[in-house]
């Protein structure tokens, strides 16, 4: 089945130690998104890629970076994780908008829960 896969499911990292979360998709979607979700809160968009074009949200800290080497993969790099970065990180994909479609929407991965110690 076509899907969005996030690895690892759980990640523990040390305060200040760089960490990378990965996302892959078999849907061949143009757009890939990274969301941060803290406990019992709404997901917050960090950035997204439309093909190779990177789009950063204005309030995303510089500590967060992303790479998309090809259509299938997207990475979230946290350069110096702080305790406040502990959260669930959700990857999502969507195809490019080409007009009215009853099936338009996002597909989410299962998320990576990041713990900072």
């Amino acid at each position: 089945d076509a899907m969005v896969i996030q690895n690892p499911r759980y990640q523990v990292t040390q305060f200040g130690k760089p960490v990378t979360l990965s996302c892959s998709q078999t849907l061949n979607h143009n757009v890939m998104y990274w969301y941060q979700q803290k406990s019992s809160q709404a997901p917050k968009l960090l950035f997204h890629y439309y093909d190779k074009d990177f789009n950063n949200e204005a309030d995303t800290p510089d500590n967060f970076q992303s790479r998309r080497p090809n259509t299938s993969f997207c990475f979230l790099d946290i350069r110096s994780p702080g305790l406040g970065d502990a959260a669930m990180y959700l990857c999502a994909t969507s195809r490019a908008w080409t007009g009215g479609s009853a099936n338009y929407g996002y597909t989410f991965g299962s998320g990576t829960r990041l713990t900072v110690v």
């Binding site: 143009n30 709404a42 968009l45 997204h48 074009d53 789009n55 009853a102 929407g105 989410f108 991965g109």
Partner: protein, 117 residues
């Protein structure tokens, strides 16, 4: 900017009964999509139902239906014959893909629904 408001943080319903989750939104746009997403304790975000704003007919998916009131900017979710597996956090979300490639999903704060046996 669009905003999505879910004013009820928690609800509880008896198994087999019907429950309605409320959502309001604010936008100046005429064409857009609205979604309800379910996030069970396993944490994967799953699409429950979508509504295209230009369609007057309310969307339905099996036990799930919406009451879409465009003029009132209201988009409530009705769950009929509630099941234990419906226990989850539910997010209402807005997107306007007509703005182009950088359309984004805006979430409400979510509501925690508990189904009691």
């Amino acid at each position: 900017a669009q905003t999505v408001t879910q004013s009820q943080p928690e609800m509880s319903v008896q198994e087999a009964e019907t429950v309605t989750l409320s959502c309001t939104y604010d936008t100046s746009e005429n064409n857009y999509y609205l979604f309800w997403y379910k996030q069970p304790p396993s944490r994967q975000m799953i699409l429950v139902i979508r509504q295209e704003a230009y369609k007057q007919q309310n969307a339905t998916e099996n036990r799930f239906s919406v009451n879409f009131q465009k003029a009132a900017k209201s988009f409530s979710l009705k769950i009929s014959d509630s099941q234990l597996g419906d226990t989850a956090m539910y997010f209402c979300a807005f997107m306007n893909p007509y703005t182009g490639a950088n359309s984004k999903l805006t979430f409400g704060k979510g509501i925690t629904l508990s189904v009691r046996p």
